[in-house]
């Protein structure tokens, strides 16, 4: 577990000027992975580079990864250490796992509960995998992070509700109309939020767009960019009945759409519902317009209240989400400990297989073939039964983080001892039946009946 690390900068500690210095465009990632591997000895890494963070997830033998990554970033981006070092953070071991799980579940995001970060991490992982920069360890960790993020999003309300006025407006419109492609939206005025709402509606698939503005030329320009229709503001009353959705944000000092205009439009619409969004201050739409049957009106305060409620609801879910993260972290750590004992178990089994083969070979010389084969099968079954209990005990001991002395004694008992002679069992020494202790460092098991050499200095 200590070999996992997450090092980088984020919106929490680094301003955008620093983040943009260390950003990794997609086309530079192959070169980055090569540099990490060849010059810094980091065989497994994933680089997550978004507008709010740059983080490098690694699995390596470096005991202190932060200066290594700092050197890498300085070299790759050709920047001085001082420009980003004060903002750089690093997590190792279980802290790294926990941080990654939180990031993937959007608990560390600028907008709590946003779902974009998970897709971004998945993309980063896919690129790293395609460049051969991942291995068994990082694969396991990333897949676990994806799974936990999905669970958190589905089991909590962390991503429920919208947190922008424009998206809230679109959500409410969807609760009024489902077939947006057959609906017409009338944009009155060219305010920033109105245009943003229109853009969201366009993305949602709204069909017809009509733009009305005091300056007709601006309306024409806007309509051209969105493939819509422009009308003079003076003809608003004549066109109102055509709109299912009205988004209004003008700079007018008073009411632009009166209750009578809405009532007249509804008569012409044959009862079909109409949704009015008033984003202007002072208001453009008469407050009593929604007293007309079939009309729904939301003004800026209403939308902001919905946003605040959604934000509050998400915040209340953080505790639950953190519980899920903690449980996942503990489970992952237990799994890693269990995996770490696999080389020992493989070595024990291999030694016994070798002994079994030797004895069966001796028997084959004295027994008929059928009897020899029967003896081999019986011996194999006996061996499996004897080793089964030992396997379960060793896996349980590893999963529960038990004393490493248990593993050392087991190795000695079964004659696969890998410790240095006389060396006491220590945290980072002794029997090193862990992922990555093979000669190629890629997490593969050591050769049968051979204990893997320790990669770290005792006591490190």
């Amino acid at each position: 577990m200590d070999r996992f690390a997450v090092t980088g900068i984020s919106h929490k500690f680094a301003p955008v000027e620093v983040r943009e210095l260390l950003a990794f465009p997609a086309e530079t990632l192959p070169k980055a992975f090569r540099l990490l591997r060849e010059e810094f000895g980091i065989e497994q890494s994933v680089i997550v580079s978004t507008c709010n963070r740059v983080e490098i997830i690694t699995f390596s033998d470096h005991t202190d990864i932060q200066p290594v990554i700092a050197d890498f970033l300085a070299k790759f981006h050709r920047v001085r250490h001082e420009t980003f070092q004060p903002h750089l953070y690093s997590h190792a071991g279980e802290a790294a796992v926990e941080h990654l799980l939180k990031v993937a579940a959007s608990l560390d995001s600028l907008v709590l509960g946003e779902t974009q970060i998970l897709a971004q991490i998945k993309d980063a992982y896919a690129i790293a995998a395609s460049e051969g920069a991942t291995g068994k360890a990082l694969n396991g960790l990333l897949h676990r992070a994806f799974s936990v993020a999905k669970d958190i999003h589905s089991q909590t309300a962390i991503s429920r509700g919208r947190l922008s006025i424009a998206s809230v407006a679109v959500d409410l419109i969807r609760r009024t109309f489902d077939d947006l492609d057959r609906r017409a939206v009338l944009l009155v005025g060219l305010g920033e939020m109105g245009e943003l709402t229109l853009r969201h509606l366009r993305e949602a698939g709204v069909g017809t767009v009509i733009v009305a503005n005091r300056t007709h030329q601006r309306a024409l320009d806007m309509a051209k960019t969105i493939d819509g229709e422009a009308i003079p503001l003076t003809l608003l009353g004549d066109y109102l009945h055509r709109a299912d959705i009205v988004v209004s944000q003008t700079a007018a000092p008073g009411i632009v759409i009166s209750k009578e205009m809405v009532a007249k439009a509804m008569k012409q619409r044959g009862g079909r519902s109409m949704f009015l969004v008033d984003l202007a201050v002072p208001r453009d739409i008469h407050p009593e317009a929604d007293l007309v049957e079939g009309v729904y009106r939301y003004e800026i305060d209403d939308l902001q209240r919905v946003v605040a409620e959604a934000s509050e609801a998400r915040t209340q879910e953080v505790a639950r989400a953190l519980e899920l993260v903690a449980a996942a972290k503990a489970e992952f750590a237990a799994g890693m400990r269990t995996v770490s004992v696999e080389p020992l178990l493989t070595a024990i089994r291999s030694r016994h297989e070798a002994l079994l083969e030797a004895e069966c070979h001796r028997l084959a010389a004295t027994l008929p073939p059928e009897a020899a084969e029967a003896a081999r099968e019986a011996s194999r079954r006996f061996m499996n039964k004897v080793l089964h209990q030992a396997t379960m005990v060793l896996k349980d001991a590893a999963r529960e983080g038990g004393d490493r002395a248990v593993l050392q004694v087991a190795a000695q008992l079964f004659g696969v001892d890998g410790t240095a002679a006389g060396a006491p069992p220590q945290r980072n020494a002794g029997i090193r039946f862990e992922i990555g202790t093979g000669a190629n460092g890629q997490g593969e098991s050591p050769a049968p009946a051979v204990a893997a050499p320790a990669r770290r200095e005792p006591g490190a």
Partner: protein
């Protein structure tokens, strides 16, 4: 149709079921089981659908729809068996009429799915269908032996009466479904007007789709209801003077007028949104009053028999056996 040989447990349960709510004696074992299976199935579907409104992640719509579809199939099989058995009289009384209405409501839900695309509507529709089925079982006790049955008479040989009964059932089923949709409409309308989030209602169809569905049900249901009235009048043309004074006829005409008012008002544009939907609800209340209220008055459309001695007085059980 004779039932196949039944195992001892079934033989024990069946009489218990028959005595709980006194099903008509002309039902055989297969029909009893199909009937109870469909009632249980629709009830289970209703419970699952309501749970799905509050916990959509845990109670997905598919199992609800499967259970409802199987129940509808069982009920359809029940009616098929009844038709095969009786030859010409699948409908005897209010008990089976209500069952058919329940079936119609469930089928209307499935027919609406391609348009509304919100399976969560089942949480509002299926409880109504289950309630209608339970009501049918409650009135089944009054459906007694066929010989003494003075409930709704159905003769397939008389096309006028057949058309009358079938159009009544279809229009009632459609308006029952429209009522469930109208209630959801009113809830969505209230939520949108009060500008308060409601997680349960977010899974329901958009309000304009609901309005459109109620309009469609009215556009189909009203002509059916009109046909049922006309055929009913034609069937009793010889005695029309006598019939016009009956509460059933008066209530039927009133009920029809309400729906006509709703349809015309919606079409002309002076009855929109909540007012239109509330009028549909009022019309359905009139359907209930017409069907149940007048049904308790002895007569040709009554689903209680003429006043008769009770079982205790005659020493017979509910099936008419000593």
């Amino acid at each position: 149709m004779q039932a196949p040989a039944i195992a001892a447990p079934v033989a024990t349960i069946e009489p218990m079921l028959m005595t709980v709510h006194g099903l008509p004696e002309y039902l055989d074992t297969a029909e009893v089981w199909l009937l109870h299976g469909s009632v249980l199935g629709v009830t289970m579907a209703a419970i699952l659908a309501v749970l799905g409104l509050f916990w959509p992640a845990r109670f997905a719509p598919m199992p609800t729809q499967v259970v409802a579809a199987l129940s509808a199939t069982a009920l359809g099989a029940y009616f098929a068996l009844r038709f095969l058995e009786s030859g010409a009289e699948p409908l005897r009384n209010a008990f089976e009429v209500l069952l058919l209405i329940s079936l119609g409501v469930v089928l209307a839900y499935f027919a609406s799915l391609p348009r509304l695309r919100r399976p969560a509507l089942a949480g509002w529709v299926f409880p109504g269908a289950a309630l209608t089925m339970f009501t049918s079982l409650l009135v089944a006790d009054a459906a007694g032996p066929a010989a003494a049955n003075t409930g709704v008479e159905s003769r397939l040989s008389d096309p006028l009466l057949l058309t009358h009964i079938l159009t009544v059932i279809l229009s009632c089923a459609l308006f029952a479904f429209a009522t469930a949709v109208s209630m959801v409409y009113l809830l969505q309308d209230r939520t949108l007007r009060r500008k308060r989030h409601n997680r349960v209602l977010q899974s329901l169809p958009p309000i304009e789709a609901l309005r459109g569905m109620v309009v469609s049900c009215t556009q189909i249901g009203l002509p059916l209801m009109t046909v049922s009235l006309v055929t009913g009048f034609l069937a009793i043309w010889d005695q029309i003077g006598e019939w016009l004074a009956k509460p059933l006829v008066i209530m039927s005409i009133l009920m029809w007028l309400v729906f006509v008012l709703a349809a015309v008002g919606q079409y002309r544009g002076w009855l929109n949104g909540r007012r239109f939907v509330i009028l549909i609800l009022a019309g359905f209340v009139l359907i209930l009053v017409t069907f149940f209220g007048t049904g308790f008055i002895p007569g040709k459309h009554s689903f209680v028999r003429e006043l008769r001695p009770t079982s205790a007085e005659t020493g017979t059980n509910q099936q008419g056996h000593r």
